[in-house]
């Protein structure tokens, strides 16, 4: 029995190790090499155990006598042979036993065989085999999933690599660190996408996350201080309308904001010396109109937004000093980094814009026909557009009318709340196509605040510091009042009453 227990214990340990390998570490219970080593170790261990548990001679003799039906001849012979001076009859018995042993063939009784208890090892072996089989099945499933996931992200990864190549090529002309960094990041993202693609369901999410991260990075890089080339062009046009600021406009067109600022300050000084407020006003109006035009076309850059705000503030605070607009513009131009408006900067901005568009194309799909006649999300002009529809007849805000029977009553127990249709309002679903208005909201995914609300749930499992009887006495009147006042359906009233009776503390 001890051997059986040992075998079972060893088997249990094997299975436990296998299970830990399989379930916790996610590996095979036994790899082929280990299995071979274990198989080879079994006979060696068996031999060692057999040597360690070698039976004494009397035990062997008894076993032989028992198995061979020798009438205890081996035990007797062993006992009598140990006698220093055997008696006559002992000597005769010894001879008879020896003759008997010589006549018989007892080698079959002492054959080397596996311990009978070894059969018990079959149990853990089968368990291990099942674990191994299960692990192999799971591994093949995982392999298939990985392949599917790899296939799912391959297109995205390939596009990212293409974008990385194009960005690197663009950087050969622009020679900026940002583009180089983006190219490297694109390449890295493609590699990570392939490496992390193990689950087909997560693969798409992972690709989207990667694209969003890249998009965010590029958006951050786009937020460079200063105005965009388009904005500079519009401002230069505005300045070019007046003779005094023509030089500044030229400098701006040439992409030299420092010189433009210098020329603008000179013009301001000259106008101040001449006290030509009318020209200043004209310049301010031209600038305001330019800003307005730009704002209508697209969102202003951060620098121009700041400029517009400062101009507006200066106008309200100082009573509309016309020179203030030029001073603010000069200030903005000074703050702009040198060379931003040169060819390299333009190239970089253009590349970033193209990259962003390409990433958003990849993110939202490139007009696969599902959107029908809607604007393509991948279109650079309509990127990030989200279409929302409100369909609340009679109320443009979509709020339920107080007397509308299709709306929830807000009163517990109301028959209106017993839904009989597939909508929570108890009526057939309204056709959103009729009388609905489509609203197109512009926005950028990820921007804006998110709202979170903490909802209180049932209490935790901590112990109450109040006796149940006291709690019940305090709460029972309130519960009865509530049960009487609320509009409880008749069918449910009995159950509610019975529930309160069931929780009443026993006397």
């Amino acid at each position: 029995m001890a051997l059986v227990k040992c075998a079972l214990l060893a088997g249990a340990v094997l299975v436990a190790v296998g299970a830990v390998n399989r379930w916790l570490l996610g590996r095979m219970p036994l790899d082929p090499q280990m299995a071979l080593i274990a198989a080879a170790a079994v006979p060696v261990l068996a031999l060692l155990v057999a040597i360690a548990q070698r039976r004494a001679l009397p035990q062997v003799a008894a076993l032989l006598d028992q198995a061979g039906g020798t009438r205890d001849r081996f035990s007797t012979a062993l006992a009598f042979s140990a006698e220093a001076t055997p008696s006559e009859m002992q000597a005769m018995a010894l001879r008879e036993c020896v003759d008997f042993a010589l006549r018989g063939n007892f080698s079959r009784l002492v054959r080397v065989h596996l311990p009978r208890e070894a059969a018990w090892l079959l149990v853990p072996a089968v368990a291990l085999a099942m674990l191994q089989w299960e692990a192999q099945t799971a591994a093949s499933d995982r392999q298939a999933e990985t392949s599917a996931a790899q296939a799912a992200v391959e297109e995205t990864a390939r596009k990212l690599e293409e974008l990385a190549r194009q960005t690197a090529k663009a950087n050969e002309e622009a020679k900026t660190d940002d583009l180089k960094k983006i190219a490297e990041q694109l390449q890295r993202s493609a590699e990570q996408l392939r490496a992390k693609a193990t689950n087909p369901e997560d693969a798409a999410k992972s690709a989207l996350r990667e694209l969003s991260a890249l998009e965010q990075m590029i958006a951050e890089l786009q937020k460079a201080p200063g105005a965009s080339p388009e904005e500079m062009k519009e401002l230069s046009k505005a300045l070019a309308q007046n003779e005094a600021t023509k030089e500044s406009a030229k400098a701006m067109e040439a992409g030299d904001p420092a010189k433009a600022a210098e020329e603008l300050e000179k013009a301001m000084q000259q106008l101040a010396e001449k006290k030509d407020e009318r020209t200043e006003e004209q310049i301010q109006q031209a600038l305001e109109q330019a800003l307005k035009r730009l704002a209508e076309k697209k969102q202003l850059s951060e620098a121009l937004q700041k400029l517009a705000q400062q101009m507006q503030r200066a106008q309200t605070e100082k009573g509309g000093s016309s020179g203030e607009a030029m001073r603010q513009l000069a200030q903005m131009l000074k703050q702009m980094p040198q060379g931003q408006q040169n060819k390299g900067g333009q190239q970089k901005a253009q590349t970033l814009q193209q990259l962003l568009a390409a990433l958003q194309n990849m993110k939202y799909g490139e007009g696969d026909g599902k959107h029908g006649g809607d604007p393509k999300p991948g279109d650079a002009k309509t990127q990030g557009l989200v279409t929302m529809q409100s369909f609340a007849p009679g109320n443009q805000n979509g709020e339920p009318s107080p007397g509308d029977p299709s709306m929830p009553s807000g009163q517990p127990g109301s028959e209106r709340d017993t839904g009989t249709t597939d909508t929570p309002f108890g009526k057939e679903r309204n056709d959103p196509g009729k009388g609905a208005q489509a609203k197109q909201l512009t926005g950028r995914l990820g921007d804006g605040e998110s709202l979170s609300q903490m909802l209180p749930s049932a209490g935790d499992a901590s112990k109450s510091n109040r006796r149940y009887t006291e709690l019940y006495e305090a709460m029972a009147p309130a519960a009865e009042d509530a049960a009487q006042q609320e509009n409880i359906p008749l069918g449910s009233r009995f159950f509610i009453k019975r529930y309160f009776e069931s929780i009443r503390p026993k006397e």
Partner: protein, 331 residues
């Protein structure tokens, strides 16, 4: 070692003598081979036998036949309630010599024989039964302060009827223990009855030849038996069997624990070994094996195990207890 051939011859003579006596007795006793062999075993082991069986199964014939075969003095005592100890052991009587002088002279009782048949021993009073104790164990009797040895070999064959228990005095444990074997004489089968009737209802009756001619031959054969050696393991097996009959022993069998009041005494172990030695010799071996011990166990232990009230009420026999012990100690 020089006289080994002598010993071998003695062993052969023992075996041959035993078988011849058995065969001679078989002429008279039909279908009771086990009983005959048991009686002979006890006889050559130096013990006494208690025969249990209904009347008319040839118990007296068995004893008489044995006495004839071994050419020994035979006496028979019919035990009755009014039987006195002196009726068995003998008494001192006044005798007058040729000169007219009177003196006490010991008049030996029937116990002074080589083979004594104590028929229906349980019908005598305990006092009378106990008169046999000294003779059976010490092989002498004491009358009037004088010990009178009994000639060897001495065998007491007592019989008792298991059916008529009315007005009987069951043998006390101490006296039961003195019997080497308790043999159950079974009713003969139909074939055996045919043979019995053929032999006893015709004019020609079988005669028993004398196999032994001298009591010393019996003693010599007994000496040979006692020389048979046995290994320690075999002796341990006999001891285990005896210990297993004791309900308080840790190796006691379930039946022993439940139904046995007292287990076998050391005399039980002695009987096992001695009987085992004879069985070994009969099997042509010079050593005792466990199988020999097991073979002797029922006859040697059944009267040495005292059942408790529960065991008797349940109708459990001591043979069942022994069978379970043998099964438990098998191998």
């Amino acid at each position: 070692m020089s006289d080994s051939p002598n010993l071998e011859t003695k062993v052969e003579q023992f075996k041959a003598g035993f078988i011849r006596i058995r065969d001679e007795m078989a002429k008279m006793m039909v279908g009771q081979q086990t009983v005959v062999e048991g009686v002979l075993t006890a006889f050559f082991a130096g013990g006494h036998v208690l025969l249990e069986g209904v009347p008319g199964l040839g118990k007296t014939m068995l004893v008489r036949t044995l006495a004839d075969a071994v050419h020994l003095k035979f006496s028979r005592v019919q035990f009755t309630p009014d039987l006195m100890p002196a009726d068995i052991v003998g008494t001192n009587m006044i005798a007058e010599d040729e000169h007219g002088r009177k003196s006490f002279q010991f008049q030996p009782g029937p116990v002074f024989a080589n083979i004594l048949l104590a028929d229906e021993i349980n019908r005598a009073t305990p006092k009378t039964q106990s008169a046999l104790l000294e003779a059976m164990q010490e092989h002498h009797v004491t009358v009037g302060g004088t010990q009178h040895p009994i000639e060897q070999p001495f065998l007491v064959l007592a019989t008792q009827n298991p059916l008529e228990m009315e007005g009987t005095y069951p043998l006390p444990e101490a006296q039961l223990d003195r019997f080497f074997f308790k043999l159950k004489v079974a009713f003969p089968t139909a074939d055996d009855l045919h043979s019995i009737l053929d032999r006893t209802t015709a004019n020609e009756r079988p005669t028993v030849s004398k196999v032994l001619h001298d009591p010393q031959e019996v003693m010599a054969m007994r000496e040979v038996v006692r020389q048979v050696p046995l290994a320690r393991e075999v002796q341990a097996h006999a001891i285990d069997l005896v210990l297993c009959t004791h309900p308080d022993d840790k190796h006691a069998s379930p039946l022993s624990k439940k139904y046995v009041r007292y287990g076998a005494s050391p005399r039980g172990a002695q009987a096992l070994i001695l009987a085992g030695k004879i069985y070994a010799l009969l099997d042509g071996r010079y050593h005792v094996s466990r199988a020999d011990i097991d073979k002797a166990a029922p006859d040697a232990l059944r009267h040495r195990i005292i059942l408790n009230f529960e065991g008797e009420a349940e109708g459990t026999s001591t043979d069942e207890v022994i069978a379970e012990i043998l099964k438990q100690n098998a191998g």
